[in-house]
Symmetry: C2
Subunit: 193 residues, 2 copies
């Protein structure tokens, strides 16, 4: 009999929390087995390697990020600032909903191996490119100041990376509030205009 189909997702979920906590390399298959309450060798009836787990985590997050942008792009947003805010809110919504996976995605992807790692980097670049286009549009519309759009995107996306670490799901702030505050900060700046 094949195992219950959700046993593998359980495994991925526990691996995600383990990798987040200790890092991919420092997490052993025996650690993971213990979390699952089975022997290390038994893990291999659900997955074929440790690498496969990291792949699943990283690429399922990547897919979520892309799907979110695709959803937004389904409607036209003539105002670049509004579209950028939508992008940021979607991004924040994903990383607050999947905090552990987001941290693995951001911090452990470098332990992917070829050919997956090249694919991953390509997807990352493509994701950044879509943000860059919105900023570029805003500049051309005269809505945004003239800045290096590439640096602006790196700064913007990087500025969100503390969230999976620092966001407290039990705190007063809801993901949407955090997203609003940050996009407001990035778009209008600290200054009181």
């Amino acid at each position: 009999m094949s195992p219950r189909p959700n046993r593998k997702s359980q495994l991925i979920e526990m691996a995600t929390s383990l990798f987040q906590e200790k890092g991919y390399t420092a997490s052993s298959m025996r650690d993971l087995a213990q979390k699952m309450g089975i022997e290390a060798a038994s893990l291999y009836s659900h997955i074929k390697s440790k690498q496969e787990i990291l792949n699943e985590i990283c690429f399922s997050m990547a897919n979520l990020f892309f799907e979110a942008l695709d959803n937004i792009d389904r409607k036209p947003y003539p105002d670049a600032a509004i579209k950028l805010e939508k992008y940021i809110l979607a991004h924040v919504a994903i990383i607050t909903k999947h905090r552990d996976a987001a941290q693995v995605f951001f911090n452990e992807w470098k332990h992917l191996t070829e050919p997956d790692i090249s694919d991953f980097i390509k997807k990352r670049d493509a994701y950044e490119f879509r943000f860059r286009q919105v900023i570029q549009d805003g500049i051309e519309q005269g809505q945004f100041a003239h800045t290096d759009a590439k640096i602006a995107v790196l700064t913007l996306l990087s500025s969100l990376n503390w969230i999976p670490n620092g966001y407290d799901p039990k705190g007063k702030l809801k993901p949407e509030n955090i997203g609003k505050m940050i996009s407001e900060l990035l778009i209008n700046g600290l200054k009181d205009n």
Copy 2:
């Protein structure tokens, strides 16, 4: 005879580049020995453990960060926006000058062990607190808009973390230019005011 005193700094330097590239856990003492052109066992005449190397990297960076703020605080800056820019420029100067060490500092500190890791976290919090105070001052002066200073600091500092990865020392942009662009972006926002 004791070894030349700079042999240990060479070791730390090569370990920094190794840890940056592969991560602390995935870097073996044999990898490091090979880089140094000696046997793994010989490393231990210069250091007493792998952990000690990580400690030196993380805390020497922490010291640089604090010294930079202390230097700025030696003169009074009544204008919070100007002081904040000074802080940001100093921070950027350090991470562009010590790119590998900065990445190890940001990404590998979690592999520190007690009691060092508690000390490290305390220092990080104290560093963030000093930025927070400048922002708080700016808000009270009416120069900055009313925002959550804690979130603003996390966002601000996080937004600089792409630099050691993305900054090309052979590119056209000098550290000071990057620093200016980013602090301008964070203080005035993307919008063309």
